[in-house]
Symmetry: C2
Subunit: 180 residues, 2 copies
């Protein structure tokens, strides 16, 4: 069966903020029409930085929509015309101060397929060299390190609930199992 | 360090669609002010239905924001004043036709902490009894079944990229490893 929904018309509902929201009129596979509201997002890169001692570099950051501090991996939006790998290198340096010699793409993930077009490119970064972070004044977060095994336990115990971070740690576990 | 951001004022930017978007003026930990835009969402329930032959019931659904068919687990929004488990039972029946005798909560996940307050409650459902689905005319999807091992391979091969589905399958793998 062709499950495709086709755009009839598209309107931007709100666009003055960090992201914009679109409302499209669409034709469904059964011939009916419906509305689809969704966030448009430039895409993001998520990095799993692993130190030579095997520990993962994590962050604690307050996330306003949920009024809660989350444990998460470094990540950030792709700038206009920026290569995805460049975004990863830039965000890792800005947020944590680390530069990495070796980058492996673990895959992509789609965090919110119901109402956002965001795609998150996920990288493993090793061969880390510590330096000074380049967070701007209003980018407030803390970094810390935990073994991968402990990360996986923290997921099972509900201490890590950020979906993008869980997916990236899962992909890392599987990658290291098959690549040693 | 207190990483908390405090609300100064809150405005609804767009609210006529499936979700609403808020723009809040907030005070940052360093005393500066900034804006936070985010989607408000009622929360959702995701179900990992496992048949007596060990296969997982999956869905294929076209997701308009990404113009792509995704492989995903059954899930749906929590209705007003609805118990979370009731949402899971209702959505499983509506989308797949199955009712389940045994429900285990695997945890919660937050799919989009940067710009949505959505929380997804994740359940394992076993003791399945097949019946007729109750999808409405415009809810167009296909169901199929795959072993859990094959699901995990499909994640590693990039055939499953929906974050909520990957997280739920990861939690299922870990749960079954420890509960047998």
């Amino acid at each position: 069966m062709d499950l495709t929904e086709y755009c009839i018309s598209s309107n931007t509902v709100a666009a003055d903020g960090v992201f914009s929201v679109k409302r499209d009129l669409v034709r469904l596979p059964n011939g009916n029409t419906s509305h689809r509201d969704y966030v448009t997002h430039p895409g993001a890169v998520l990095i799993v930085p692993i130190l030579s001692n095997g520990n993962v570099v994590l962050e604690r950051q307050f996330r306003y929509p949920l009024h809660q501090v989350f444990i998460e991996l470094p990540a950030g939006k792709i700038d206009a015309n920026e290569e995805v790998l460049t975004t990863g290198q830039r965000e890792l340096l800005e947020e944590t101060g680390y530069t990495a010699k070796d980058w492996v793409k673990l895959g992509i993930q789609h965090p919110c397929i119901g109402y956002s077009n965001e795609v998150i490119h996920t990288y493993l970064a090793t061969g880390l060299i510590a330096g000074a972070h380049q967070r701007d004044e209003d980018e407030i977060l803390e970094t810390f390190e935990v073994s991968l095994a402990d990360c996986l336990t923290m997921i099972q115990h509900g201490e890590i609930t950020d979906s993008k971070t869980i997916v990236a740690l899962f992909l890392t576990e599987k990658y290291l199992q098959s690549h040693g």
